[in-house]
């Protein structure tokens, strides 16, 4: 018994040190993360405009949400914008494969392609508003000139290309073109970004002997890609894809707020912009919390799916 006492004291002191070290972060964690999660769950069962007292309404918010046609439209917008994710992944992988060659100047190209993701934020969004400007924007200016060049010969011969030459989208001002415009901006921002870096890292992990052996067996570049590269980077692809989807459900607030105000005709309002409007513009705190929880459940399902599948992937990856 006499021997045990100092050990117990030492343990108690070590535990005390542990708690002290962790205290600042845990306090912040409690106040700004874990308690708010519970609070927002309670909030989603209430009706509250911050001025009067909160009113308990039970699951009514969720009932309203399911029948809210605007909400489902915005879910549709969010899903539409997420179509950029597979395209972006394919482009990133393609770029990574090209940049992975042992040639001079690849570092420079990598830096240039990475530029849009470093500068992302309000600056590049204003820039794209200007590029997409229907009257004086560069994109339509370039389109006009491409049409001129394309139509030159047919018009000499006497063909009418008038219908063709009329396609000058009003981009952010047209509800059919606003989402494609945002997707275009998104691809510019993401194709040379984080995903490309992840792919480059994955490609560097592929043993070169595999390629040499395949070459000796007479496999072409296309075959080498599908039989070696693609399977070897598949865990990375899966990770990027799932992270992209999780991020995609929560995306679109900033571009909607800065570039389009969610319009025209609600065509660029995403789930996150709808939450913002409900919570901080219309002060429907309870309803906003219920949408946020709906979003949370989607992300939770995706994360669990991710865990299950990636545990299987680990075995061969």
């Amino acid at each position: 018994m006499k021997d045990k006492k100092p050990i117990a004291t030492w343990r108690r002191r070590a535990a005390l040190a542990g708690y002290l070290f962790i205290l600042p972060n845990v306090l912040g964690f409690l106040i700004f993360t874990s308690l708010p999660v519970l609070a927002s769950l309670l909030l989603s069962l209430c009706k509250w405009d911050l001025l009067s007292d909160p009113e308990w309404v039970g699951l009514k918010n969720f009932g309203v949400l399911i029948r809210d046609t605007d909400f489902w439209k915005y879910v549709g917008n969010t899903l539409f914008l997420m179509m950029a994710i597979p395209v972006s992944i394919i482009l990133s992988l393609f770029l990574a494969v090209v940049l992975n060659q042992k040639l001079r100047g690849m570092v420079l190209f990598r830096a240039l392609f990475f530029l849009p993701s470093i500068t992302a934020g309000i600056g590049t969004m204003l820039l794209w508003m200007w590029l997409l400007n229907p009257e004086f924007g560069v994109i339509n200016e370039v389109l006009r000139n491409i049409y001129e060049v394309l139509a030159w010969l047919p018009e000499k011969v006497g063909w009418q290309w008038a219908a063709w030459k009329d396609i000058h989208p009003r981009w952010l001002g047209d509800q059919n073109w606003s989402k494609p415009a945002l997707i275009m901006m998104g691809l510019w921002g993401s194709m040379g970004g984080m995903n490309m870096i992840l792919y480059l890292a994955a490609l560097q992990g592929v043993p070169p002997e595999l390629y040499e052996a395949a070459k000796m067996d007479g496999a072409g570049a296309w075959q080498r890609f599908w039989k070696i590269t693609w399977p070897m980077v598949s865990p990375t692809t899966f990770f990027i894809f799932v992270m992209g989807i999780i991020g995609g459900f929560q995306a679109g607030f900033q571009s909607a707020h800065i570039m389009t105000n969610g319009g025209p005709a609600g065509s660029t309002t995403t789930i996150s912009y709808y939450i913002y409007n409900n919570a901080y513009q219309w002060f429907k705190m309870g309803y906003a919390a219920s949408i946020a929880w709906f979003l949370f459940l989607i992300v939770l399902a995706l994360t669990l799916f991710n865990w299950r599948v990636s545990q299987k992937l680990v075995h061969y990856g």
Binding site: G18, F21, N25, L35, P36, L50, L115, L126, W188, G192
Partner: protein, 329 residues
């Protein structure tokens, strides 16, 4: 490649695939970088050249109009709103968030990685679990807490002392007339900084790094009589400089471009951070017809420059951080 073979390689003819690669990459790089060229060009021309089209003046006059370059747009952009103040605010906020996050995360990460105490692993699991919660879920209650905080704190003081001097719900000024906002609540530096200072992600990142540091160093230090604090401060922190730099650069850049939270907790120009000020600047200068694109692009460049500088300084750590993020899944 073997040294003796090097001269052979140099003499070999340029392969077609190499040429195709370079042509493709150059074309793509021009397309990717062109928007930035256009941004610079617009920021330096005088407003009347903004609406000139290519076929009227020819390609080169269109790309580089006369009277180029002018710096007037920058001056006008900076002078039209409290731009300098917003710049200082953003530096203060991003700096405090970065320092605070690196400090509190490293303390917690050290405890998670090296100290033994009851409930440690359960707590760490709780941290991990919260990493997937969407920000919009927690933001609403934190916003409500922020709005109500001055009232609650004043009420608490009134209850304790019996008088209500309204310390927390009034605004403060420094150096004659410099508006400093409230101590807490909306329109305060506290609201901009505190909620952004604690993330599970930072703790997780540093804990993984601390786990990889060999235990020999700290055992030797313990034998020499070092305290727990001494081990954290003199051994773990210096050894994990790369990881700290990674976290710092991510946090700084994230804070520099933070948008939603600063948007909902600032009302007056004096407390706004740069993105929010530029956005309000956009609504004053951006009517449907009369948008002052020259000013907007000048403002955008001023927002982007620090991001570029931060990236250039910490490029190595930034790329490493992206890769660590990849291992996480």
């Amino acid at each position: 490649m073997d040294k003796s073979l090097k001269h052979l390689r140099q003499r070999s003819p340029v392969r077609l695939s190499t040429v195709v690669t370079y042509v493709f990459l150059t074309a793509l790089a021009v397309t990717m970088v062109f928007p930035f060229v256009w941004m610079l060009r617009t920021a330096f021309i005088s407003p009347e050249h903004v609406s000139v089209s290519m076929d009227k003046v020819g390609f080169w006059r269109w790309l580089v109009p006369p009277s180029f370059p002018e710096g007037k747009n920058f001056v006008e952009a900076v002078e039209s709103v409290s731009f300098g103040r917003a710049y200082i605010n953003t530096i203060i906020v991003a700096g405090c968030v970065t320092l605070g996050q690196v400090f509190t995360s490293s303390l917690a990460a050290f405890a998670f990685a090296r100290l033994k105490f009851p409930g440690r692993d359960k707590l760490f699991m709780a941290y991990l679990a919260t990493m997937m919660i969407p920000g919009s879920v927690t933001m609403i209650p934190v916003f409500i807490l922020t709005t109500k905080m001055p009232l609650y704190l004043d009420a608490a003081i009134a209850w304790l002392t019996g008088s209500n001097p309204a310390i927390f719900s009034q605004s403060y000024y420094m150096f004659h007339n410099t508006y400093m906002g409230r101590p807490v609540g909306p329109d305060s530096y506290f609201a901009l900084i505190a909620p952004a200072m604690f993330t599970a992600y930072g703790t997780f990142l540093l804990r993984q790094f601390f786990m990889s540091i060999e235990k020999d160093y700290e055992e030797a230090a313990r034998i020499d009589g070092a305290s727990t604090w001494g081990i954290y401060w003199r051994i773990m922190m210096p050894l994990s400089r790369p990881a700290l730099a990674t976290l710092a650069i991510f946090t700084f850049m994230g804070s520099w471009r933070a948008y939603l939270w600063p948007l909902i907790v600032t009302y007056t120009e004096e407390i706004m951070t740069l993105p929010i000020l530029i956005r309000s600047f956009q609504s004053t200068h951006g009517g449907a017809v009369t948008t002052k694109w020259t000013l907007m692009m000048a403002a955008s460049i001023l927002h982007i420059i620090p991001l570029l500088v931060a990236f250039v300084i910490g490029q190595k750590y930034f790329i490493r951080g992206v890769r660590i993020g990849g291992i996480k899944g």
